[in-house]
């Protein structure tokens, strides 16, 4: 075997070892299903879809963690009314020999969702994150590996828009990624960009579980007439064209605006609204798609996630 081929094989072996046994794999050991939510462009409602899908699953008894991977526009904390900062966890045994370990615990929302967002690092939401290039990629991976995720049924990853380095880093760094959920809106430009995103996912060997059309129509609150504010719905046609399951339409709703402002998922604040029903149907489709048999039991949830030592998995609560 020549040297080049040998080094290439060695490199591949190291990559696979890192993927299956590295810090991120260990950190996510207790997480059963990992799903990323993405789109080709911004402004399609990925974050609201992520948190409402998470809330709908939580209502069914599932333990949910959300990783807000959008470093430049981290919106999950605001959308859930989380005001607190992400703090370093001090292990119960203290720091060993003066060495301090960089570990975080997710912030637990009032509604039972465990959240990690770089937006929770800084005291002010006006502070921009000026990381770029490889530094940004390393930081995403560092975050993923440094969190005490504990035992979760689902990790929902709210990806930044597009198919650039950050998206590829997350998709390539999460072992056993269950799949991607694609969000589009009715406009032609969104569906066009979304098709690129679906192709990118396929190139990266990430299964596309389903496609959702968000902000599909507005039902007039007075007479119920359906109004296509963003043009006639094209999501279902896109799904057919790309051979991806179409998981339905989420209508626009006046309830959504106030829910976001108050930091309460709409499925909790307005459970009977059509928009909430739509999210619950999508949650059901996700469970079916991944062949999920049910939430983990309390006994399973209480089991430690590491073999080496007992890590205290703590949450700190934030109330607004």
């Amino acid at each position: 075997m020549d040297r080049e081929r040998y080094e290439a094989l060695q490199q591949r072996a190291r990559e696979e070892l890192l993927a299956t046994q590295g810090p991120i794999a260990k950190s996510l050991k207790g997480v059963k299903y990992r799903v990323a939510i993405f789109s080709g462009k911004g402004g399609v409602g990925k974050t609201t879809a992520t948190i409402n899908l998470g809330a709908a699953l939580h209502q069914l008894g599932y333990r949910i963690a959300i990783f807000d991977a959008d470093m430049h526009g981290p919106a999950v904390p605001k959308a859930l009314g989380l005001l607190g900062r992400l703090d370093v966890v001090i292990p119960p045994s203290g720091h060993h020999g003066g060495h301090h370990d960089l570990r975080f615990s997710p912030v637990l929302s009032e509604h039972g969702l465990s959240v990690v967002s770089v937006g929770s690092i800084w005291p002010s939401e006006e502070t921009p994150i000026m990381w770029k290039g490889a530094h940004k990629m390393r930081s995403i991976r560092q975050f993923l590996a440094a969190v005490n995720w504990g035992r979760q049924d689902f990790l929902l990853v709210d990806l930044p828009p597009g198919t650039g380095d950050e998206v590829q880093t997350v998709m390539g760094s999460i072992p056993n990624l269950g799949g991607m959920l694609v969000i589009t809106t009715p406009q032609g430009i969104s569906t066009m960009v979304c098709s690129k995103a679906i192709n990118a996912a396929r190139e990266l060997n990430a299964p596309v579980l389903g496609l959702i059309e968000n902000m599909s129509v507005l039902n007039c609150p007075c007479c119920g007439t359906e109004i296509s504010l963003f043009g006639r719905p094209r999501g279902e046609r896109l799904a057919g064209m790309m051979q991806v399951p179409f998981w339905g339409r989420i209508p626009m709703a006046t309830e959504m605006g106030e829910s976001v402002d108050e930091g309460i998922p709409v499925v909790l604040k307005h459970p009977d609204a059509p928009i909430s029903q739509a999210f619950r149907e999508i949650a059901t489709k996700l469970l079916t798609s991944l062949e999920v048999t049910g939430p983990m039991t309390d006994e399973e949830a209480a089991m430690p996630t590491t073999d080496e030592h007992d890590e205290h998995h703590g949450h700190h609560h934030h109330h607004h």
């Binding site: 900062r85 301090h100 960089l102 690092i121 490889a134 390393r138 991976r141 560092q142």
Partner: protein, 126 residues
């Protein structure tokens, strides 16, 4: 001692504490820049670089001072450098596997710029 004196004393103590941390991180950053320079000149191997970075203990320092670094705007330049160093300590190996050793050139440049900002934040020693 009146209230003004107490406030001034507290401010002086805080500034001295910031100064100490800033200088400590500056030293760490200088060491990493030297390591990256040596790596770029092929004076050390990738394995040697990856093995030496943890000895600088950037990650541990970041964890130790996390609360201050993320709460005090005056420490922003320090936090920026330390976070960069910490991410290198954690992920330089993966980065080189994935993107190749030349990908560290940009990090050298970015760290140099961050260090320049940190130097500006450090007050001259009286």
């Amino acid at each position: 001692m009146n209230t003004m004196d107490i406030t001034t004393t507290t401010t002086d103590t805080t500034q001295a504490s910031h100064e100490e941390l800033n200088r400590r991180v500056l030293t760490m950053a200088t060491q990493v820049l030297e390591l990256l320079r040596s790596f770029g000149r092929e004076q050390i191997t990738a394995n040697e670089l990856v093995a030496t970075l943890p000895e600088i203990a950037a990650r541990s320092t970041l964890a130790q001072h996390w609360e201050r670094l993320t709460a005090e705007p005056a420490l922003s330049p320090c936090f920026e450098v330390l976070q960069l160093l910490s991410s290198l300590e954690s992920e330089a190996d993966y980065q080189m596997l994935r993107y190749g050793p030349p990908s560290l050139h940009d990090d050298f440049r970015e760290l140099s710029l961050a260090v320049a900002r940190l130097r500006k934040a450090i007050q001259p020693v009286a």
